[in-house]
């Protein structure tokens, strides 16, 4: 029988700083290090240096803290509060130094890559920022690639991310407000917006929702997304997530509010509307006519990926009169040797397609690609040759699948896949009436969604008519365009982005 482990001591946030109290907090922590330092080389004048190994840079601690602190020329005879004042005054070579009087603040600093010098008698500590440089460097985006565009993507380190944003938006009104997330993990999150331009109500609402997040730790994107959206049960994404810094900054310039979370290589943007999920960063780097045509193609893809299998099922099972004679003849002939009814055939193919996709994603990259190719070519062809499915069904399901891959946002693609299944089921039982009703329900659901007070289907619904073309077409960069009125930006006028 396992012996019940002693519960870790709760950190009394306002407890005074002592070495014993801090060591109690980090008791049994393998990476917690502490040692006595002789200030000015005087063995009778001691202070305790504490840090979490790995979070701090050992050489920085040695060179920038220990070396000047133990130098008799600098600190000989300097004790207690006098030493603290000197440390804060810049007698050591660290750019950030903070005086901490409570155990909570001290613990938070240690967890954020600071080292602490504790003066037990004073019940105070001075912390220095000496973060370890061991972090992933800025790399090109892995998912949202563009040919003509910036090649920097967010990383897991918050400071790097905020730096990337600051470099792109050199504006003193760019505000970055911090919110600690998680009762235990205390993950750092920041709200990014342009003060005086972004709708203050939107900023206030985003702040309120971030503060309200009540979780153990914010270690995944779903923690943010599901906790701040208006309708978390909807499968459709309501928060724009991006790994691209340029897309993040462009949305800030349009009047959206951004969020960055330490440990997540993503930026989140609100409000998220349907039309925003149809845009790709390439839209702003390619020619505006081409970009507009490709946007229209993506909207066509939405219709294809949603409706192609359902439409096929409906017409093949119930409405054969809608099929041109020659095509129907081919379909009848192709289906003659297939033992399954159309409904079973299509559902099987859709499931097989989803399995292949899931296998391709989960497996390591080279194997995943091989599985996809083998699945698509060999399994598909074999299924047709073995008369398990008819070629038309393979074409329809593949067409729907490929159209789904054009979705710029993976969450939107997943939501459409889910709806595709539901529409197929509606078509199986109710034919074209079911497809029509299913579409009506989807439109109803989308139209009833709001993201931070902005209608999800704007500018198609709940917005002024003259802005509808904005979602479908991109104007030339030489032409000033109207801002999105739903965002209620400070200037509210024209933009030239």
């Amino acid at each position: 029988m396992l012996k019940k482990e002693k519960a870790p001591p709760e950190v009394a946030e306002n407890a005074p700083v002592t070495v014993a109290a801090l060591e109690a907090v980090f008791e049994t922590c393998y990476d917690f290090e502490s040692r006595d330092l002789h200030i000015g080389g005087d063995a009778s004048n001691k202070a305790r240096l504490c840090f979490l190994d790995g979070l701090v840079s050992g050489s920085d601690v040695a060179e920038q803290v220990i070396r000047p602190l133990t130098d008799p020329d600098r600190f000989a005879g300097v004790r207690g509060s006098q030493a603290i004042a000197r440390l804060l005054g810049g007698s050591v070579y660290v750019y950030t130094a903070k005086c901490r009087e409570t155990l909570g603040d001290l613990s938070a600093d240690l967890l954020n890559g600071f080292c602490a010098l504790i003066f037990d008698a004073e019940r105070r500590a001075v912390t220095f920022e000496v973060k370890s440089p061991q972090r992933r460097g800025v790399d090109a985006p892995k998912e949202e690639k563009v040919v003509k565009g910036a090649k920097d993507a967010f990383v897991e380190t918050m400071k790097i991310n905020t730096t990337l944003v600051r470099r792109k938006l050199r504006n003193p009104h760019l505000k970055i407000r911090e919110f600690p997330l998680g009762q235990r993990a205390r993950t750092s999150a920041v709200l990014v917006y342009i003060d005086g331009f972004t709708n203050p109500e939107l900023v206030a609402e985003a702040s309120r929702r971030l503060e309200k997040i009540d979780v153990e730790g914010a270690l995944t994107s779903a923690v943010i997304e599901e906790n701040i959206v208006d309708r978390h049960r909807s499968p459709f994404p309501q928060v724009i997530s991006t790994e691209r810094t340029d897309k993040f900054c462009m949305n800030l310039l349009e009047g959206r509010v951004g969020m960055l979370v330490d440990g997540l290589p993503l930026g989140f943007l609100v409000p998220g509307t349907f039309s925003q999920f149809m845009k790709v960063p390439e839209d702003h780097s390619g020619h505006f006519i081409v970009a507009s045509a490709l946007t229209l193609l993506r909207y066509l893809s939405v219709a294809l990926t949603l409706l192609a299998p359902a439409f096929y099922v409906a017409v093949a099972m119930y409405h054969q009169e809608m099929i041109p004679t020659r095509l129907l003849q081919s379909m009848i002939e192709a289906h003659a040797s297939v033992p399954f009814p159309t409904a079973v055939e299509v559902v099987l193919m859709l499931l097989a397609f989803e399995l292949l996709q899931e296998a391709g994603i989960r497996l390591p990259s080279p194997i995943g690609e091989t599985v996809s190719i083998i699945g698509a070519l060999i399994v598909g062809q074999s299924a047709v040759e073995a008369s398990v499915v008819s070629p038309v069904v393979v074409v329809v399901v593949a067409l729907a699948g490929i159209a789904g891959y054009t979705m710029p946002n993976i969450d939107m693609g997943s939501a459409l896949r889910l709806c595709r299944f539901l529409l197929v089921l509606a078509a199986i039982f109710l034919g074209m009436f079911g497809v029509a009703m299913g579409c009506a329900l989807i439109v109803y659901h989308l139209s009833s969604l709001e993201s931070f007070g902005v209608p999800y289907m704007s500018p198609f619904a709940g917005s002024e008519g003259r802005h509808q073309s904005r979602a479908l077409l991109r104007k030339s960069m030489t032409v000033k365009r109207d801002r999105e009125p739903e965002l209620k930006t400070g200037d509210g006028g024209e933009a030239k982005l």
Binding site: H319, L328, M331, I332, H335, L430, G431, G434, L441, H445
Partner: protein, 401 residues
């Protein structure tokens, strides 16, 4: 959202009904069990109607023809569709309906009625009357492996428009014409053993045989051929193209009609009486071939060809008008033209159209224009004239009207 789901589900159920099987919608058919009826025939028999359907399932090679007789078209067709054929025959892809001459003479309305009322049949099914044999015999004679009988008939229907030998009116067009004018034209065909238009492998081929003039009561069945057919197509604006041989002096010009515009102008006198109907036809043509010696770049030669073209078309139009008036049947829809142009004046005439129409003077004017000769000396630049051509003048005047 729950309310919306329940509401749409209820609506869908109300629209689709409930079947006994797995599916809710009662219209379910397994696609592999379907047989497409591409064409069907109806022939009058002493004891009723003989119906034949020409159906395919998949490849045309599998096409087959089955027939059934019954006291009426509906009962015969019903029994035929319910026969244990192993497949479910559907009429939604039927392109043409062939009816025998006897059937057309006595029971045409029954055919139109069936097409209109049966939920699967489309109103744009082409209606053809078979002359010289029964419709069933023609369809059977056409049945070969490649192309199929249905394709041969469909090919003829498309071909007619292009060569100016006729036009296939749909069941909807015939029914509307019967309702509005009490008379309609129906394309006639006949089976031939020689001069196959297509590389058909059946025993027979099919060729156009003019128009049948059918009336609402089914009592009248007259036939138009030759110039009357051409004139009818011209006056009904259904002529897309036609090659005509025109003899001018010693040369024979074969011209192809390209553009045709027909304009009607009912003329009323001061008392509101309809005195005559002016019909103006603008016909543009291109020279296809020339037999003999002639200089088509000369103005005089061109004008002679244009005169010959005008006279030929005028004669055809007048023949159609004369036949229509002789029968007392307004199959050229002059009543409709008058009603559309002057509804008030027509209503004020105070006389029935059947009394006015037979004696109505119809003045036909045709302006033929030879537009392209394809002569090396007659390039568009050379042929360009400063003043308007007769064709352009006529087009402009038609626009004004």
């Amino acid at each position: 959202m729950k309310k919306a789901i329940l509401l749409t589900l209820a609506l869908a159920l109300a629209l689709t009904g409930c079947s006994k099987g797995l599916t809710i919608f009662s219209n379910y058919r397994r696609i592999e069990n379907i047989e497409l009826v591409r064409a069907f025939t109806a022939d009058a028999r002493e004891d009723g109607v003989l119906v034949s359907i020409y159906g395919t399932a998949g490849e045309e090679n599998d096409a087959r023809m089955v027939e059934k007789s019954g006291p009426s078209l509906g009962t015969a067709m019903g029994e035929l569709l319910m026969m244990p054929l192993g497949r479910e025959a559907i009429l939604s892809h039927t392109e043409n309906m062939l009816i025998g001459e006897d059937m057309a003479r006595s029971r045409l309305n029954e055919c139109l009625d069936y097409v209109e009322r049966y939920s699967e049949t489309r109103l744009d099914i082409g209606l053809l009357i078979v002359r010289g044999s029964s419709a069933r015999d023609l369809l059977k004679g056409l049945s070969g492996s490649d192309p199929s009988a249905a394709d041969v008939i469909a090919g003829l229907a498309n071909h007619l428009d292009r060569v100016g030998e006729g036009t296939v009116f749909t069941c909807r067009e015939v029914a509307v014409s019967l309702l509005e004018n009490g008379v309609a034209l129906v394309q006639c065909v006949r089976g031939v053993e020689e001069e196959k238009l297509f590389d058909a492998r059946g025993d027979l081929n099919i060729e156009p045989a003019g128009f049948a003039v059918v009336t609402e009561d089914g009592q009248t069945l007259e036939f138009l051929t030759g110039e009357e057919t051409l004139g009818s197509l011209l006056l009904l604006s259904r002529l897309r193209s036609k090659n005509l041989d025109l003899t001018v002096e010693d040369a024979v010009f074969t011209v192809s009609l390209e553009e045709l515009k027909t304009a009607y102008e009912p003329v009323f006198d001061g008392d509101g009486a309809l005195t005559k109907m002016k019909v103006r036809i603008a016909a543009g043509a291109k020279l296809v071939s020339l037999r003999g010696v002639a200089d088509v770049t000369e103005k005089a030669c061109r004008e002679a060809v244009e005169r010959a073209l005008s006279e030929r078309l005028k004669a055809a139009a007048q023949a159609a008008v004369a036949r229509s008036q002789a029968l007392g049947l307004d199959f050229l829809d002059l009543h409709g033209v008058t009603a559309r142009k002057h509804p008030g004046k027509l209503a004020a005439l105070g006389r029935d159209w059947s009394e006015i129409f037979p004696a109505l003077p119809v003045e036909v004017e045709v302006e033929g224009a030879l537009r392209r000769t394809f002569d090396i000396m007659d390039s568009p630049e050379i042929a360009e004239k400063e003043e308007m051509t007769p064709w352009e003048k006529l087009t402009e005047s038609l626009k004004d009207n």
